[in-house]
């Protein structure tokens, strides 16, 4: 309980810090919201030119960007610290997390905040409202949507944590971790109808990019309970694996002698 209190305190403190630079804060949020519209334009015109592809109508991508935007926004705003793990390792800042009696993962996760991710969250929310109006979602669909937002956030957090934990094994793992994470994220922004056969299998079970947006949209549209159970099981699997992998990888960490007071 005290760990959670500390995590909430960290988040509040980081948010306050960012808010001090008001212009930068507002520009980041608005800029990111506008920036994300590009993907919507691209895939909307793609859908308009091609028509229905694998059951995906042009405006179904609203749902894709709703889920991916919201999960990205939640994780990158509240738990942005995990994306700093490679930097913490290479600079030796990770030492300070090891020397405190609190939950290491929770403390690392909440050590940073990314204000621009609030723009992603806003964008996801706009897309979700538009998707809700377009599809005229029922109460049941709406409830499942809320559950799926939590699920996609956990998946995004878990796989990102795995990508970043790889840095424990490498001399300068920042690029490798970022590269893997980019591949995971960028593939989640492709049109859901694009993935068939082997490609679909790979991006569900090996690199879970499709679980961030495409599969949740298909669950909502088709009310597919089998897919819902599958995504729940995969979420548990990825979350447990990521936490275990983080703590196992952490044992590889060797403290360095960089003198400083950390971040």
């Amino acid at each position: 309980m005290s760990d959670i209190k500390l995590a909430l305190f960290n988040i509040r403190k980081n948010l306050k810090n960012e808010k001090e630079l008001k212009v930068s804060f507002i520009m980041s949020v608005v800029g990111m919201t506008i920036n994300n519209m590009a993907f919507l334009i691209i895939w909307y015109y793609f859908g308009k030119t091609i028509g229905v592809i694998n059951g995906w109508k042009p405006l179904d991508i609203l749902g894709l960007f709703a889920f991916s935007g919201l999960s990205y926004g939640i994780v990158e705003t509240l738990f942005n610290g995990i994306f700093y793990i490679p930097r913490y390792i290479s600079s030796g800042v990770f030492d300070k997390f090891l020397t405190t009696p609190k939950n290491i993962l929770l403390k690392v996760s909440t050590s940073q905040i990314k204000t621009s991710a609030l723009g992603d969250f806003t964008y996801g929310l706009i897309c979700f409202i538009a998707f809700y109006l377009y599809k005229r979602l029922t109460i049941m669909q709406l409830l499942i949507s809320f559950l799926l937002i939590i699920i996609t956030s956990i998946i995004y957090y878990s796989f990102s944590l795995i990508c970043m934990s790889i840095s424990f094994y490498l001399m300068d793992g920042e690029n490798v971790s970022e590269g893997l994470h980019n591949m995971f994220l960028s593939n989640s922004l492709y049109h859901g109808g694009a993935f068939t056969g082997v490609l679909r299998f790979i991006f569900i079970f090996i690199i879970p990019s499709l679980l961030l947006g495409a599969i949740p949209v298909e669950i909502i549209i088709n009310m597919s309970m089998i897919k819902l159970v599958l995504i729940c099981l995969l979420t548990i699997f990825w979350f447990v694996l990521s936490v275990m992998f983080f703590y196992k990888s952490m044992k590889k960490y060797e403290s360095n002698n960089l003198f400083g007071f950390g971040n």
Partner: protein, 265 residues
């Protein structure tokens, strides 16, 4: 002459530096491979549905256009603005602007040097793979090569000026990232990244033609048959934009230096 040799030495040093670090190259190859694989499979499926031709353009031409775009992204000149921003934020810029060379020019060569090895390696290997897997687009090499080379070079110069201008804005505003994101997305969309240019609606085609953001990636259009007739006007547009942004960058950079003097770096 001596100055030019110095700039190319800087480029060579940064390129050699990248050549020593294999992880970057492996990552670039891996990213390029995954991007191309997904896009090629997606459009393979789409073109299959549409009988092999969409908006009068075939699969091979479309894939080559997208391949060129992805290769240009590997060169990654757009990172220049963040490099400048980091130097401004850290205060290191003060040291660099006092050196007896132009700070912006040296940064241009640095950023080219950082991406050149990956770009050349991936472009050559990728082109051979493309010829084997996708085929050769319907272009005459004696026309395509000079057209591609000029539009590519002019596009990259324009890109350096635009992103350089964003970078210099770091002297005035604390965080240039939001401007970078918006401009970057314009460049990405109008360059034909995920959606090929042949599938653009009319308003986007016009925007890609007349805007400076579209002009950065004119090279991606060189594989289309219509490009030959548009070549001269497109080159003229690129030169006009280079002059406009060159002048603008020069003015803003001078103002930035004044500002950095006032603030003491």
């Amino acid at each position: 002459m001596k100055r030019i040799r110095f700039f190319f030495t800087v480029l060579k040093i940064h390129m050699k530096n990248q050549m020593q670090d294999n992880t970057n190259l492996i990552l670039d190859v891996f990213n390029m491979f995954s991007r191309c694989l997904i896009v090629f499979l997606l459009y393979g499926y789409v073109f299959g549905l549409k009988g092999g031709v969409v908006n009068g353009v075939d699969y091979t031409t479309t894939m080559w256009s997208m391949f060129i775009y992805f290769c240009i992204m590997i060169l990654n000149i757009r990172r220049i603005d963040k490099d400048i921003m980091n130097e401004v934020k850290s205060g290191n810029v003060e040291t660099f602007v006092n050196k007896p060379y132009n700070y912006l020019t040296i940064n241009f060569f640095k950023v080219i040097g950082k991406g050149l090895f990956s770009f050349l390696f991936i472009s050559i290997i990728g082109s051979i793979t493309m010829i084997l897997l996708v085929g050769i687009p319907d272009v005459k090499l004696c026309v395509f090569v000079p057209m591609f080379t000029t539009t590519f070079l002019l596009g990259q110069i324009l890109g350096l000026l635009i992103y350089g201008l964003i970078g210099v804005l770091a002297f005035f505003i604390q965080n240039i990232n939001p401007i970078h994101w918006v401009v970057d997305k314009f460049v990405m969309v109008l360059g034909g990244s995920y959606l090929p240019i042949s599938m653009f609606p009319p308003f986007m085609k016009t925007l890609a033609f007349i805007s400076p953001f579209g002009a950065i990636n004119f090279a991606t259009s060189t594989v289309y048959s219509s490009f030959t007739s548009e070549y001269l006007i497109r080159t003229a547009l690129q030169i006009i934009w280079i002059i406009v942004f060159g002048l603008l960058l020069n003015i803003v950079y001078k103002k930035s230096l004044e500002k950095s003097m006032i603030n003491g770096g």
